[in-house]
Every structure is written in C-alpha cells, then in structure tokens.
C-alpha cells in the first residue's frame, strides 16, 4: 500500500505540474493555436495523470470503475473538442503567428 501511495502522489504532483504549466502557457503564448496547444496539455496529460493517481488511491471497487469511465470519456472528448475548436478557428480565418507575420510583410511591400 505504501508503494502505491508514493506512486499515486508522484502521479498527482506531476498532473498538477502539467495543469499549472498549461494554465501558464495559456496566458503567455502569443497566438490562438499555441495557446490551444497549452490548454490541451491540461486537458490531456494532466487529467490523465491526476485520474491515474486517484485510481491508485481507491481500493479497487466500484469507484475505480467510475474513474476509469471518466478517463475513457475524457480521452475521447477532449481531443474532439480541441479538434473542433481548431478547425472552427481555421474555418473562421484565424491565422497562426508566422502566417500573420508573412501577411503583414506582404502588406508592407
């Protein structure tokens, strides 16, 4: 049990770290797509790590199964959401930072 606790706390701490860095990136990154990349870090790796850590904390009963379900749902929904968001942004005419710079240069000439 002791080893399991250690593993789970390592997982939890790592998850929190990724979550925090994702939030930081969301503020610091320059354009929409890089920001989305940062946000998806929180969505994917951070939640997976935290959920795995929590699973190790349970005593492998119905709660474990529930957590596994949540995990499975998140694995499917969050990439889909990111994908839809990115595609809509692209569809709506949003450009990445390098593209915008190229455009601006073209305009100056």
């Amino acid at each position: 049990m002791f080893i399991l606790d250690i593993i789970s706390s390592v997982l939890l701490i790592a998850g929190v770290f990724f979550g925090f860095s994702g939030a930081l990136g969301l503020f610091k990154f320059p354009d929409f797509f890089t920001r989305m990349h940062a946000a998806s870090v929180t969505d994917s790796i951070a939640t997976i790590l935290i959920l795995l850590g929590l699973i190790l904390q349970t005593s492998f009963d119905i709660n474990t199964a529930k957590l596994l379900f949540i995990l499975a749902f998140l694995m499917i929904t969050s990439p889909t959401a990111s994908h839809a968001l990115a595609k809509s942004a692209r569809h709506g005419g949003l450009l990445t930072l390098p593209e915008t710079q190229v455009k601006q240069q073209e305009r100056t000439y």
Binding site: T77, T80, H83, K87, S88
Partner: protein, 326 residues
C-alpha cells in the same frame, strides 16, 4: 481541511463574481458565470448537498450557460458603457448587504448539531423516512413524498417557462434549404464522436433517472442530461435533422404528458381514498405504494424537464438560424 477547501472556494467565488461586474465582454461574463456555478457546485458537495451540486452543475453551468450563449449569439457580445449614475443601486446594495450582515448576527452557529433546524422537523425525515418510504436517499424521499406538492409545483414552473418561451419565440419548422445551418457540417470527427456518445449520454440519463432513489440524482437531473444529449445532436447535425428525430410539437405534447402523469398519480391516490399525492394508498403495502408513486412521479418530472429544456433550446436555436439566413 474541509474548512480550508471551503475558504479557498469561497474566495474564488467572490473573485469571479466581482470580476463579472467589471468585465464589459459579455461572452467572458457568461463564461465566468459558468465557472461561478461550478464553484458553487463544489461548495455544495463540501456541504454534503450532493443532489443539489448535481443539479447546479447540470443546470447552472450547463443549461443556463448554453442558453445565455445562445442569446449572446443573437444580441452581440459587447456591453456599452453605462451612462447613468451607479450611486443609487450601490446604495441599495449596501443597505441590503448591511441588513443581511445584521441578520447573521443572531444566526445559529454553523454546523452545530443542536441548531433548531436539526432538532425540529428534520429528525423525522432522517430517522423515519427509510422505514416509512423505504429509500436510502432521504433527499428523494422528502422531495417526492413529504413535499411532493412542492415538486409538482416545480414541474409546473418548468412547464410555465415553456409556455413563456413559446409565446415569445415560437418554434417554426424550417423549410428545406441549402444554406449550411451549422459550421459543424464538415466535421467528420465530431460526427463520429457524437454518434458514439449520444447513446451513452442517454444511457447515463436513464441511470440517473432510476438510480435517484439510491444515490444522488432523480427526474430533474436526468431530464437535463437527456436534453443535453439531444442538444449535442442538434449542434452537430443541425436543427432540421434534429426536428426529424424529435419534433417540437411532439415535445410540447410530451411536456404536458409529464405534468399530467405526475398529477394523475395524485388523483389516483385520491380515488383510492387517500389524500392527494398519498402514495401509500397505491398498493396494499404502503412502502411498495410509496415506491410506485416515487418512480412514476420522477418519471413525470424527467419527461417534462427533458421536453421543456429541449423545446427551449429549439426555440433559441431556430431564432439563431433565422437571423443567420437574413
């Protein structure tokens, strides 16, 4: 530990609320409202109100936010600078706030087991309801049986909201046209995932519906979740295809039927010689009768809530489409 979590959550809540006052971007305000709802749901969990938290998360953060976003799509997302003075409202708020703080001075201590509310009516619910009604979830017992009349009223309120929205917006069937209705038309990934998920969501709604007697959940939450499944379908596949699956007229009928189902349980118990909504008379064994009664009325609540929420979403959605086409 619990207090610490409470404090942190409350602080975040206050920050969110204050931020809402100063932001001019309504989109952000609505998003913050969603966050506010989720935070309060967390506090509710911490205060042992799991059923309430469930409802707040699905309603406040879910349906309300979706409806507000739908409104914003039609009305524009910027708030203009206010010209009239804000001193009078501030004064009113200060007076009310002061009155509230004055009122808390003689409030019974927080969480103390000897508070009047824990001593007077509630003990009967906690001690007797498992025997009298036979359900482990006391919230469901109180909601559906002891205070069943309130819940009937609540269902009717939801129904009244449907009437209001229909009277204001109305749902009209769109003519077939080639205008792309939704920006999501070309999203193959979304289509596949949505097809996979919608049955699962409905399954979950059914679980919540019928498991409400034992765990948190019940007709209201189930109705909202089932409505969410169809809202997802509408968002992904467009309004006209959703209309083909469940038409607005059918939904209106469904909403009425839910209310009637609830009330008919009441009338049936009258017919059996009991008072209105006295489920004990539904079967020879009072506890079995209570069970029947609660299952049926929860079903009625679920049907009405599902139908009303989806109709309201349809009404908002068809408004959005009309303005897109123009």
């Amino acid at each position: 530990m619990g207090d610490l979590i409470d404090l942190v959550l409350l602080a975040m809540l206050a920050i969110t609320a204050l931020q809402m006052i100063f932001l001019k971007d309504l989109f952000a305000v609505v998003m913050l409202f969603g966050i506010y709802s989720f935070l309060s749901a967390l506090i509710f969990i911490n205060l042992d109100a799991v059923d309430v938290a469930f409802t707040e998360a699905s309603v406040g953060a879910g349906i309300s936010t979706v409806l507000m976003l739908g409104t914003l799509a039609l009305t524009g997302r910027k708030e203009k600078k206010s010209s009239h003075s804000s001193i009078l409202p501030l004064l009113v708020v200060c007076i009310t706030g002061a009155a509230l703080i004055y009122g808390t001075l003689d409030m019974p201590p927080f969480g103390h087991p000897n508070n009047p509310i824990h001593e007077h009516v509630a003990p009967r619910y906690i001690e007797e309801s498992p025997k009298e009604i036979g359900l482990p979830n006391m919230v469901t017992s109180v909601l559906a049986s002891y205070r069943g009349f309130d819940t009937l009223g609540e269902t009717v309120v939801v129904f009244a909201a449907l009437i209001g929205v229909l009277a204001l917006l109305g749902v009209r069937r769109q003519e077939e046209n080639d205008v792309p209705e939704s920006g999501f038309k070309a999203h193959h990934v979304l289509h596949v995932v949505a097809r996979f998920f919608i049955p699962l969501i409905i399954l979950f709604a059914l679980y919540v519906q019928f498991h409400g007697d034992f765990g948190p959940g019940g007709g209201f939450q189930a109705g909202v979740i089932a409505a969410a499944a169809f809202i997802l379908y509408t968002l992904v596949f467009g309004l006209s295809r959703a209309f083909a699956v469940v038409g607005p007229k059918f939904l209106q009928a469904l909403a009425s039927i839910g209310v009637l189902l609830y009330a008919s349980v009441g009338f049936f118990s009258m017919y059996k010689g009991g008072q209105f909504l006295d489920y004990s008379k539904l079967a020879t064994d009072p506890i079995v009768g209570q069970h029947y009664g609660i299952i049926i009325i929860e079903l009625g609540v679920g049907i009405t809530v599902f139908a009303v929420m989806l109709s309201i979403f349809y009404a908002f959605g068809s408004q959005a489409e009309r303005s897109n086409i123009q």
